[in-house]
Symmetry: C2
Subunit: 488 residues, 2 copies
């Protein structure tokens, strides 16, 4: 029997009130004798109990249960109220969001979920080598790093942003974050109060609406067409910020033309508002060159640019970056420090090395080819299975397309999702990306956001086949139901 | 001349208003001829300009500058107001915090900064092996993970917490966060509104006070003695949460006895408040066993436990964990998802493997021995250099101690820090850890928080020597100054 066991045993007895009346414990000598252990062992246990305040020791006397423990035990209330936890306003907002679920892993044969990548595209040997090299370059001491992130990575990104996106910025305007999501969160916290409004695309990236709404601010959902956010509708809007995806609108795929870009920037300037430009997948354009970002235009002083490697390397690495106006760089750095000090160091260094060597850009070119092929395969498969019963939107870029089912009214969406689940194909409706407070703003046909970047060509074809079966069944069921009431 | 150059050139001309009157561009054939390039090259450039909305193309006609661009250019306002950026209330709070600085790297010979670790203590070979193994086990697809973190790591932690800290919890009560700081941030956001109060130790971990204050809530700073937070003073306090370090008060080092623990938990129950138990360095006790956490006690339903590997492995990995009450596990998971989706995956898996194999716990024992030796060296060096002119507090545990200079009044603190800097030894005053709003609450002598876990024994001795020189100079200067006025 060791000191720890003795300690646990006596603590248990104290808490159960065994010593309640007298409160005296056996002397260490007596207890050692009784248990057949050395006196040192008992003394160690007693010292621990003493340190934790369970017992008191007075010179020459036997140890006794601490007075406070005894009286506490007597007053122990038996009433176990089950009070609902009071949360902050933010907490109450968070509580309304359905919990994360893994989309029934293993139950699906093919999943067209957007945002996933094929792990076979990841440059694993190269990444391992760079990570190993990083780990070997051990610094003298391990300490908290610059909240803005590794300087080496920020320098590498500065060059990359100029080469790939014509963005010119200072290294200290770049803040490394844990994926775009943290970038959005920092923007929301620093720029929005509960009394403010923010402009958001409709439909939009749902997590952006959630995080901005979390501040208590009210969304102004602005419709999107094939040229992105309709900036004509901004004139009268007094908002603190606008969240946009001008290079490739998510999810509909439009590119915002220069006229709207100017209109947006002018609006931001007039309102002293910020524009958050989420450039989440501009690496993937299959028709034209990547479209230059808002950030490079004149009067873009209010633009906060957001980039990520989640679509080019892996979403599991959790690395993104903000380019903030010079006047905001300190406040963003401190906000990042308060949020989590800084992002993990090793992956940042490995990514810096990847970019410096040019291997990142050749990797991007390589996966762009792969995804171009996947896209073509999906387009062909969809045309083959559905002919002109579908309309495809936003397939010129990115890693997903929107497929509208012309003959499926929105009311059949639940039936289609259920039918697809039965075929074990994962499909994801676009309707949940529209502002739920504006039901009139969404088309009244079923639309799916179909991602393809995680799938090999065979599975894309198989999945489209399964989806066609699912759609067929929904159509038959619907036809049967339409006829039934007439027969009664 | 490639398509990109042509595109850039024409875009520049459009933006400078070169085409303003007519708005017509040369035909692709004419331009190709003029530039001596293929027509395909010019067409590619024009397609890009078209996609971005700079130009319009009408069947059969020459391309022209888009109408909107022309009118936009005319209206371009010349006024460049320099408006101070409006931030949220949180943003204004963040703006008051001094920006991060690296403590003059390279300029110091020895730095006693608390929180740093020696990189020679890090199990680099083992970690590299585990990271490589993790990277090789590639999943089928790379997708967003459970916001609570890797299930494997949470299972490993569940066992570890039971073995090392007698904490029994469900795997889903554990939320992996980016170091303790993110854990504190999530607690602050979910539990505090601007109208609330929170209890905090005085002195305390400064970043905790900052993050809780960031919500707009008001701190109730409760004095700390050698038994931690003085819970007698809580009775009348109506706060939403209390932040405590009961196993090892930061920075003073007291262990909270069981009576105060009960008092704290009873208070929390009565007020329906939460207790955040920051168990940041309980692995390091040199006298007794690690003290059992609040979390294991009866009536600890309101306790949120916070652990980290920043003091055992490395602060650069950014891994910590919360153990939250079952009623809060969903809301914490969603809050983590909104904050940054989840923590990076590879390191979590490597840490899980480290814990499963038992190597984590033997690593902890190993570095505990190293730090015990460092601590003893620092104690001896301090005694040797300063004798009874100092008082040492909180040296029984953790990775730092507090050294009070009995003959140095607080007014000499700036002089001491300056003098130390001149000796190139980094020392860090305790006064900044006291609530600045309660100047009466802090002792009126100079106190330093001296961390030793990043230093080898030789440097500990050298640093103490340099510090002694710095103190000596301050004493002499002070004595000279005291005498001078009399001579005048």
């Amino acid at each position: 029997m060791g000191a720890l066991q003795i300690y646990e045993e006596i603590k248990g007895q104290i808490l159960r009130g065994v010593f309640e009346t007298a409160g005296q414990l056996p002397s260490s000598r007596a207890l050692a004798h009784e248990l057949g252990v050395s006196r040192t062992t008992v003394t160690a246990a007693y010292e621990q109990l003493l340190a934790e305040g369970f017992i008191e020791v007075h010179q020459g006397a036997r140890p006794r249960v601490a007075h406070s423990v005894v009286s506490e035990a007597r007053h122990k209330s038996a009433s176990k109220r089950s009070v609902r936890t009071r949360l902050s306003a933010y907490g109450e907002h968070v509580r309304t969001i359905p919990p994360w679920s893994d989309n029934e892993p293993g139950k699906l044969v093919v999943d067209f979920r957007h945002g996933d990548l094929a792990s076979s595209d990841f440059p694993i040997m190269l990444w391992k080598r760079l990570m190993n090299r990083t780990l070997e370059q051990r610094p003298e001491r391990l300490s908290y790093d610059d909240p803005r992130g590794s300087r080496r990575l920020r320098m590498a990104l500065q060059g990359y942003l100029w080469r790939a996106r014509t963005i010119r910025c200072d290294v200290d305007q770049i803040i490394i974050v844990n994926g775009s999501q943290q970038g959005l969160d920092l923007c929301a916290r620093l720029l929005l109060d509960a009394t403010d409004k923010f402009v958001i695309e409709n439909p939009c990236y749902a997590m952006a609406r959630q995080i901005f709404s979390g501040t208590g601010a009210s969304p102004v959902s602005v419709p999107v067409d094939d040229a992105g956010l309709n900036t004509d509708l901004l004139a009268e809007v007094d908002a603190r910020l606008a969240y946009v995806t001008p290079s490739h609108q998510f999810p509909l795929g439009g590119v915002m033309p220069i006229s709207r870009r100017h209109q947006l920037l002018q609006w931001a300037k007039r309102r002293n508002a910020h524009v958050i430009e989420d450039d989440y997948d501009s690496e993937y354009r299959y028709d034209i060159n990547p479209v230059a970002p808002l950030h490079g235009l004149e009067d873009s002083d209010n633009v906060i640019y957001l980039g990520t490697i989640s679509k080019t390397l892996s979403p599991t690495l959790r690395i993104g970056y903000l380019v903030v106006p010079p006047g905001l760089q300190d406040v963003f750095a401190t906000a990042k420090e308060l949020a989590d000090r800084h992002s993990p160091v090793a992956e940042q260094e490995a990514l810096a090395a990847l970019i410096e060597s040019g291997a990142y850009e050749s990797h991007v070119r390589r996966v762009r080819r792969f995804n171009h092929e996947r896209r073509q395969t999906l387009l062909n498969a969809l045309r083959h299975r559905f002919g002109d019963k579908i309309e495809i939107e936003g397939a010129d870029a990115g890693l997903h397309m929107v497929v509208w089912f012309k003959n499926l009214p929105l009311s059949l969406e639940p039936a289609l999702l259920e039918s697809a689940r039965r075929e074990r194909v994962g499909v994801h409706s676009i309707s949940r990306l529209y502002d739920p407070a504006l039901p009139g703003g969404r088309p009244d046909q079923v639309g799916l956001v179909m991602g393809y970047s995680a799938l090999d060509l065979r599975w894309i074809e198989r999945g489209t086949h399964l989806l066609a079966d699912a759609v067929k069944r929904v159509r038959i069921d619907a036809a049967v139901k339409t006829r039934q009431p007439k027969q009664r």
